[in-house]
């Protein structure tokens, strides 16, 4: 709330309508559903990467997508903020309802959508700029120029991403000077700075060592108080540790979607059981 109040004070850009729309997120999603995916099909040219996906992703929880390589889990994640638009050959059918709107509709303001839905990538990919400029990037693109506003927003984002104590004395240093785990937390901070409602994470720890991984996992657990998190992971133990619900994909099909406890303890589909018990993958 402190952050929202500050947004309100910043006269440059924020208007009251921004705040109302952000606060009404819960009202727009009365069932606590962040995404309602309906009959989603995705093709790369002739290849069908996603087949009739139907699922509801809950608000303020962690949803994990698991499955072997090429199962479509990352593709589905990239549908949620329309990043698949960047792949020329991709074609999407079906609906993804978010806040009462179909985000696949041509009327969607994709740029605005992506400020509301943050994304963290597989490889830490900070910009070759200072730590401060990385964290402030999204806000600067939004047109925020007020230095003290940016400083506060950067500090708050870095605190939330559990990076502030490590970098507060050298915010001007290039982000390349950070370790891989710090870089990935900076990428999380960069997304948080925009005060999104949802954070998408595409295998965020696959390039990190075990200690950095466990710090990111702790962070995910903290962040779910405030954000809806969707995480793609290759690590089943990670899905079991951090997620509330888990979806298992295979060759573009959603095989099973249930609470994480049920998926890992009482899977209904034998293919799910085979995958989580390590028979293939």
């Amino acid at each position: 709330m402190k952050f929202m109040n500050r947004l309100k004070q910043n006269k440059d850009i924020s208007t009251d309508s921004d705040i109302i729309s952000a606060q009404s997120a819960l009202v727009d999603n009365p069932d606590g559903v962040a995404f309602d995916i309906r009959d989603l099909n995705l093709y790369y040219d002739d290849f069908q990467a996603l087949k009739d996906i139907n699922m509801e992703i809950k608000d303020r929880s962690v949803t994990a997508f698991i499955g072997p390589s090429g199962c479509g889990k990352s593709t589905l994640l990239r549908c949620l903020n329309r990043m698949n638009d960047l792949i020329e050959s991709s074609r999407v059918e079906g609906e993804i309802i978010h806040k009462g709107q179909n985000i696949n509709s041509p009327d969607t303001d994709v740029v605005k959508l992506r400020t509301e839905i943050g994304m963290v990538f597989q490889q830490p990919n900070p910009f070759p700029k200072s730590i401060f400029d990385n964290a402030a990037y999204g806000l600067v693109c939004q047109g925020h120029k007020n230095k003290s506003f940016l400083r506060e927003a950067v500090e708050e984002a870095l605190i939330k991403a559990a990076l502030w104590d490590e970098v507060k004395d050298h915010l001007k240093r290039n982000a390349d000077s950070l370790s891989g785990g710090q870089q990935q937390r900076l990428c999380i901070a960069r997304a948080i700075a925009l005060n999104p409602e949802i954070i998408l994470m595409d295998e965020p720890t696959s390039a990190l060592d075990p200690i950095a991984t466990s710090r990111i996992e702790d962070l995910i657990t903290q962040l779910k108080q405030e954000y809806t998190i969707v995480i793609v992971t290759h690590s089943m133990s990670q899905a079991a540790r951090v997620s509330d619900e888990t979806a298992f994909f295979l060759l573009g099909d959603l095989i099973e979607f249930d609470t994480t406890d049920n998926i890992f303890q009482n899977p209904r589909d034998s293919r799910t059981e085979d995958y989580i018990s390590g028979k293939f993958g």
Binding site: S130, Y137, C141, N174, R190
Partner: protein, 303 residues
Amino acid sequence: MKGRRYLSDRIFRGIFLFAALFAAAMIVLLLVFVTVRGIQPFLPSYPERQSILPFLTGMRWRADQGVYGVGFIIINTLVGSILGGLLALPLAVLSAIVIGRIAPPKISQALTTVVETLAAIPSVVYGVFAAGKITALVDDIASTFGISTYGGSSQLAVILLLAIMTYPTMTSLTISGIKAVPLTLDSASLALGATKMETYFKVVIPGARSSIFAGFSLGLGRAFGEATAVSMVAGNALIGPTTSLFERTRTLTSTILAGLHETVGLDYDIRFSVGVVLMIIILVTNAMIFGVKRHFDKKAEGK
């Protein structure tokens, strides 16, 4: 067997060393030769001895009167080359963005070939084109302002010619710089709600700035050193500095080249002095560009 292989290894090491030393020796030889010849006219033993200060600051080059001043020529060279380079720079960066990011692969490949071909065209061909087309264009522009030119030979013609000639060098270096910026950074920027244009200008171009500076300094090097084509449109003014875009100009290179084989004595020897001045200017300019680049690098690290 081991002995023979060891021997051939040593022989090849000798050949490599010789090749490297030969290249280094050529550079040293050239610098020494030009410099030694270039200072001759200023030595007491020289029959028509010149003074260094009037030579460097002189605003007239009247071989017929035995007056040799390169001051205005230095100014004209700097203005013509730098304005030409600055005109080409934004075009080069924008073209490189189109080729490196926006255009579909086939078109991008075709455009790259065009740029590489442009870079390979001999300068005399640019010169013929400039003498035939650019001068006519400049003359037309001048006459709409009611100004008459010397058949279009002018500072503006030199600037336009040098912009065209430096463009391919700057563009190809910038393309390689832009292609070296990882696409994952574009994704990161777009996922943060940046538009494609914001991504190009805030992430891709800053990421390629080393190559952009390298391209700019190579392009300027070509502009400073270009003799043939420039001579064809400069008009070789006798006094200066040139203050109007439509007036004739004279560059260091065109001064060295003009009538080189029809002259002897001081008028011949002094051209080596002009060559020394040109080398110094190029060195100083490159050092300055490097300084600017350092400044940008520091700025990019933090505010």
